[in-house]
Symmetry: C2
Subunit: 250 residues, 2 copies
């Protein structure tokens, strides 16, 4: 699995891959009030895309996503979550696909297995981009973080895939924060709000945000330690045992 | 698309379908404090499964899900939502698959296109089961609603697919209620709680449930109309404009 693969090699080995299924990874990175997305450029082109690839015949879908991400960006040990399978007819533009292979000296035949229709399964993750190191893999010649509102046009339906991933990230942000270590163990309401504001790309109303967060029953307020200035310090919180646990009868 | 299809006919027409992709539908039905799931029995067998099938070569994934559901259960005009792609190796037991085809007189070869590995994309829906009429399609000889805790063993990984769909339904219940007509336009907190209790299969604590619901900012409380008994009537609610709208600054 360590071996890098180029398009040319993949094209010759149809029997090693599942026909019709690909994987695309949407890696969101946040840091210092910024939210970015990780893009890779196809070799010898100006074509930017999500890091993606094909699934081996004896490889679980999830393992494929991890392998592909690592092969194209050097990211590893990232908690990837599946969010949607993109299955519209005509989602892959065959002219663009031919441009990608031509740039590495391969003439793509319409009969080639990768020229057939593909359903792509999207995986996403949220990481602190200041804590990861990127390196382009064998089929990328660059990979980098882009702001969502100034990123380049992407190939195929990848702009739509990013949009759908962002919707999912916003919907599921609280679960992701509870089960990840993106926030320190103990944090202030202001820190939590700042992360939400970064992901939503909007300022939030402090009182309403606090009411919503406390209403969800996922936060546990810590006792303030006694100190001369304690009454001025903000309350500290941590994530409680389980989402919604307090709404169920024992 | 109206034409019914049997396994025998599907087997002969490999070139009409996408290789390696199937669809399974998890239709939850609620009514009168009960939550059920819709299962179909393969012809001449005692094998129960989710209504599922294959995707035509020029058919969007979503259209395939709707066609398959209608073909196997007669359900139509149901709002289906995709929730997960099941892509583990070995998720389909080839012995069970041979049993299904043998029951309709077809010997399934290991080289047949449906004997290869499939990734199945799951779609789910929530309906009021008292309002729909079922009828088995060409490859089912029965379909019916089953309670989740007393349903028969299902083929392949279908029990796991139901479990994952139920998790998603619980996570997304509020969105589903907001964008569907499963509740009347105006409802009481008790009615909303009852629907949550049915889907969660648990009693909820009234005060905490109310606090959580109001904290989400999705409910709009109606003015009470003046009447002699008005002070005794419960408050009435409806779903407000948009989820979370009140936490953003203008």
């Amino acid at each position: 699995m360590e071996r890098k693969e180029s398009i040319a090699r993949v094209l010759e080995k149809a029997e090693e891959f599942l026909p019709g299924i690909s994987v695309d990874c949407v890696i969101f990175g946040f840091h210092d009030h910024q939210l970015k997305v990780l893009l890779a450029r196809f070799k010898n082109t100006e074509l930017w895309a999500l890091p993606g690839g094909y699934v081996r015949i004896e490889e679980d879908l999830e393992d494929a996503a991890r392998r592909i991400l690592k092969a194209r960006t050097a990211l590893r040990d990232i908690y990837l979550e599946q969010f949607y399978a993109f299955g519209q007819c005509g989602r892959v533009d065959s002219r663009v696909q031919r441009e990608i292979t031509a740039a590495v000296g391969v003439a793509l035949s319409p009969d080639a297995w990768i020229s057939r229709r593909f359903v792509s399964v999207g995986y996403y993750a949220l990481v602190d981009f200041s804590e990861v190191t990127l390196a382009p893999g064998d089929s990328s010649d660059a990979c980098d973080w882009y702001n969502l509102d100034t990123m380049p046009d992407l190939v195929f339906d990848h702009t739509f895939i990013v949009k759908k991933a962002l919707e999912t990230l916003r919907l599921r942000l609280d679960d992701i924060l509870v089960s990840s270590n993106l926030l320190p163990e103990i944090f202030t309401m202001r820190e939590l709000q700042s992360l939400h504001e970064t992901v939503y790309g909007k300022k939030l109303l402090r009182a309403n945000f606090q009411r919503k967060m406390l209403g969800m029953g996922i936060l546990e307020r810590m006792e303030k330690k006694f100190s001369g200035r304690a009454h001025k310090a903000p309350f500290l919180y941590r994530f409680g045992q389980a989402l919604e646990s307090d709404i169920f009868e024992e």
